[in-house]
């Protein structure tokens, strides 16, 4: 007997198929059924009036901490947080312990992920051990299931190695994701360099530290003709470089995160370690430039860079605190805020969080066309809530948005037609 589910009276937003209207979405056997097909008699009906029904949101940049740092997060809790935040899939970075630089680690992640609440797309390391010395086994990792490679957390300092990575990854249809940072310039820095770091007496990281490496990566992509994806863009300078590169046809894509378009370095005030991440929160001018990048298409995706850390890493002196914030459960409301303020429209929202990540990573998704796997995110754009420690599904609570009033929340998250998360309305 065919299992079927009808999401009734939702606003179906599917920019890939040029679709945005009230309607019912029928899911049969884990796949999107043809639109307009009369629902079978035994269909389960869920009324999603007032909600947006979208192709599953994909967070292309998270840290799930498993294997090795399960006290911060594991695949089960991380994917549960993802589903609760409206994501049907996440791409997890390889800076685990050990580093995901081989078939064995990739396999372990996928094995654990099979019991998770969201799809997991592992990202393999660019270099063995992410030490920046020699290429990891891209081919073997690809076979095991990685969709991209990155040494995220660290830049690939050696430009020759980065060039080889771009060339070799293209052979294996792997996306190369660059953590672009010029380490000499950012050395010892703990926050953005500017008036706030001067006032707080903290060592700064200049915006140029990002821009220099972004340009290096663009130059390599341009020279080799291979694509590169720039992770967590935080500055006006980098956004401008990417815009100019796209204009001349370089195959560069880029993501930013809700914290870069929502907060500035003022959030560090009071030595708040939950406002410490790398790259750091920047100036108001940078924040605006990043927003503009999301509007004009320079920045292709919104990812979270979900980076769980426990109190062991965060309840310490600011200089000693680990970099990173969680983001899976706040990305939807923070990005929706842009829609409410008229900065981006609903179509763009879905592109940034679903369609573009799917294309950049070369994975299925981003579409509700008939026959597609029924990865569907249903959100209530009107629901208001206060984001509190108690509500956090992630094992770690290191968010700069705790205590904030937010609007827009996941109501139901489906993967292959299976309900991975639902919130009573």
């Amino acid at each position: 007997m065919a299992e079927s589910l009808l999401l009734q009276n939702g606003r179906i937003i599917d920019p890939d198929n040029g679709f945005d209207r009230q309607g019912d979405l029928l899911i049969v056997d884990g796949k999107v059924a043809a639109v307009g097909t009369p629902p079978p008699e035994d269909v389960q009906i869920v009324d999603v009036r007032g909600c947006w029904v979208m192709p599953g949101l994909i967070d292309m940049h998270v840290h799930l901490r498993e294997p090795g740092e399960e006290y911060k997060e594991d695949i089960e809790t991380g994917t549960r947080a993802a589903a609760a935040g409206g994501f049907t899939a996440v791409a997890c970075m390889p800076n685990t312990r050990p580093v995901n630089d081989c078939l064995a680690v990739t396999s372990l992640i996928l094995e654990r992920a099979a019991r998770g609440s969201a799809r997991v797309y592992p990202v393999g390391a660019i270099s063995r051990g992410s030490r920046g010395e020699s290429l990891a086994d891209f081919g073997e990792m690809k076979e095991a299931g990685v969709v991209a490679v990155s040494d995220d957390g660290m830049p690939v300092v050696d430009s020759q190695l980065m060039r080889r990575a771009l060339e070799y990854a293209a052979d294996h249809r792997l996306t190369v994701i660059s953590h672009s940072e010029e380490l000499f310039l950012s050395r010892h820095g703990v926050m953005n360099e500017g008036p706030v770091s001067t006032r707080l007496g903290l060592k700064g990281i200049p915006a140029a530290a990002e821009a220099i490496m972004v340009y290096r990566d663009i130059a390599l992509a341009e020279y080799t003709g291979r694509p590169v994806h720039i992770a967590h863009v935080s500055t006006a300078m980098a956004t401008d470089l990417i815009r100019a590169a796209k204009t001349r046809g370089v195959r560069v894509t880029a993501e930013t995160t809700p914290h870069y378009f929502t907060l500035t370095d003022e959030a560090v005030q009071g030595y708040n370690t939950n406002a410490k991440m790398n790259p750091p929160l920047r100036s108001e001018a940078d924040r605006r430039a990043v927003l503009q990048g999301l509007v004009d298409g320079t920045l292709d995706a919104v990812a979270t860079d979900h980076a769980p850390h426990s109190t062991l890493e965060k309840d310490v002196e600011f200089d000693l605190a680990a970099n990173g914030v969680i983001g899976l459960e706040t990305a939807v409301p923070l990005t929706l805020e842009l829609v409410r303020r008229g900065v981006i429209d609903e179509q763009r929202f879905v592109r940034l969080l679903s369609l573009n990540p799917a294309r950049i990573l070369n994975v299925p998704g981003g579409s509700l066309a008939p026959g597609q796997p029924a990865d569907v995110s249903v959100i209530d754009p009107a629901e208001q809530f206060v984001y509190t420690v108690d509500s956090v599904m992630s094992k770690s609570k290191n968010s700069p948005f705790l205590g904030r009033s937010l609007q827009g929340r996941a109501v139901m998250t489906l993967v292959d037609g299976r309900v991975m998360f639902s919130r009573p309305r």
Partner: protein, 316 residues
């Protein structure tokens, strides 16, 4: 105990902690300086002790080496009859892997009234206040602030000039790493003085204007018609990440000598937070010359710290 207040104006000093000049209003600063003025006399007596803080416990928690600041706080506390205890980094439990929070909680469990903290990381005293009941006085945190130094500088200038308002105060040196510079810029400008800074461009951090300082483009411009010329210590230990080519060149281009001092007002005073690198940022003839008030700063340091202990005690 009731908070300290002025008999005449109805002003109340309400600060429980002294974390930085940033948190003090002009009225707070004025009140602290007046209180310090009145305490200064105690140090000139044959028996340099008043019973004001008898039975109170003051802990000097120093995570960074310090001779004069620690001694100054200790003398201040003892002249007020408080019981003082010194914990320095080498004897503290942080070397055993204890976190700052646990150290703070343990000390707090022994019920001190005031903790005076020095730490190499900016913001460490702010953090301390979130975990303990005692008052916290910041004795210097990283490159952030050194409020008691800022206050003793203001006291010294006011003593010599009779006022702070309208004065030109020039600070020369490593502004980037200087907690003294930050506290002085904030304090002097809040009290109506104009603060001008100069140093190698590598030592001038962005956004100083937002703190209230004017950044000068030459030493001559900075010192011209100054009422106060303050020079900062070059931290030789920072030479592994050098911000200028050599000490020799620094002394030549940025050191304060008699020739450059001639550009200041004839009655200008020379200050330095100490310890001095003689012949680097300050030439001996200036350091020991008639305009130097460096030892007055040290003397006033005790009075200012007595005042701070007394005032926060009223709010703890």
């Amino acid at each position: 105990m009731n908070s300290r207040h002025s008999m005449t104006s109805g002003y109340n000093f309400t600060q429980k902690h002294i974390l930085g000049i940033h948190h003090l209003s002009a009225d707070d600063i004025d009140f602290i300086l007046k209180t310090a003025d009145s305490f200064k006399e105690i140090s000139t007596r044959a028996i340099k002790k008043v019973p004001t803080m008898r039975g109170l416990t003051v802990v000097n928690l120093f995570f960074e080496p310090s001779t004069r600041t620690r001694l100054s706080f200790e003398i201040a506390a003892k002249r007020m009859s408080a019981d003082t205890y010194n914990i320095s980094a080498s004897t503290s439990s942080t070397v055993k892997g204890e976190t700052l929070i646990d150290t703070a909680r343990n000390i707090s469990a022994m019920k001190p009234d005031i903790i005076i903290m020095r730490h190499s990381f900016a913001g460490a005293p702010d953090m301390l206040t979130r975990y303990i009941d005692a008052s916290v006085i910041n004795a210097g945190d990283g490159s952030h602030e050194h409020p008691s130094q800022g206050l003793l500088d203001m006291m010294t200038v006011r003593e010599h000039k009779g006022r702070l308002e309208g004065l030109k105060v020039t600070i020369v040196g490593d502004i980037l790493h200087s907690r003294v510079a930050r506290s002085d810029i904030l304090g002097f400008t809040r009290m109506g003085a104009r603060v001008f800074v100069y140093g190698p461009a590598t030592m001038i951090p962005p956004g100083l204007e937002e703190l209230g300082a004017t950044v000068c483009s030459s030493l001559e411009e900075a010192v011209a018609d100054a009422d106060v010329v303050m020079t900062l210590r070059i931290q030789k230990e920072r030479q592994k990440d050098p911000l200028f080519p050599s000490l020799r060149e620094y002394a030549q281009k940025y050191g304060i000598n008699r020739r450059i001092l001639d550009r200041a007002r004839p009655d200008a005073i020379v200050m330095h937070p100490g310890p001095i690198n003689r012949g680097v940022e300050l030439m001996p003839d200036v350091a020991d010359g008639p305009r130097s008030v460096i030892l007055d700063q040290v003397t006033n340091g005790v009075a200012v710290r007595m005042a701070l202990l007394y005032l926060v005690m009223g709010n703890s």
